[in-house]
Amino acid sequence: MSIKVRYFASLKESLGRDSDNLEFEQTISVAEVWARAVPAKEMPVNILAAVNMQYVGLDQQVADEDEVAFFPPVTGG
């Protein structure tokens, strides 16, 4: 399976990149996506996650060709 992982705002800056492409054999959770994409950094406690542009919990399973996004709390308006 192949997925795209995207990062935004301060998270993107601290990682020094805006995306990763991940390949894996079996279905994994959003939390595992983080662990594989960003092994050097523990997931921030206030992080928000989305799959295909919908908010999800960290235990959500991802499927082939999903777009997973991680970002800090939103501050628009």
Binding site: A50, M53, V74, T75, G76
Partner: protein, 146 residues
């Protein structure tokens, strides 16, 4: 209607233009208009500008869900939400929420709801430029009910 724009806009002209195009004549008794503007201060510091980042695609999806929720909760005739992205400066309009309804309660309440939901759910992020050219991400929006 929902719009994400990267250039300065006149909120009153946008509201008026949308109203003229809508089939509202004779039907609406209330129009509420909320405008969020950029201040020149935040958390005790002077701020000279900001960059507004967003997640294209998800931003529009989440805003559409917020407006759809408001339409379920209140009786609305029409709505217009415009949000700015990119580089913004003091006094620039950041967000416009216009609601047209038969009675004022629906317009007031839906407008407040959309703003509070927007501030907690729609993926926009502000990075402030302070007067000494230091940059700082806004970490959290203030609670609108304080």
């Amino acid at each position: 209607m929902i719009k994400i724009v990267s250039a300065e806009f006149d909120p009153f002209a946008e509201a008026q233009s949308h109203q003229k195009k809508s089939a509202l004549t004779g039907k609406y008794g209330a129009t509420s208009l909320f405008i969020g503007t950029m201040r020149d201060f935040n958390q005790g510091d002077k701020v000279q500008g900001m960059t507004l980042e967003h997640y294209p695609g998800m931003t529009e999806k989440q805003l559409a869900m917020v407006v759809a929720d408001a339409e379920e909760k209140w009786s609305l005739l029409d709505s217009l939400v415009i949000h700015r992205v990119g580089d913004v400066f003091t006094d620039d309009v950041l967000v416009l929420v216009v609601i047209w309804s038969v009675h004022r309660g629906d317009a007031f309440d839906a407008s407040r709801y959309i703003m509070e939901q927007l501030k907690s759910k729609v993926p926009f992020w502000k990075k402030e430029i302070l007067t000494d050219d230091q940059h700082r991400w806004v970490v959290k929006n203030t609670d609108g009910y304080l």
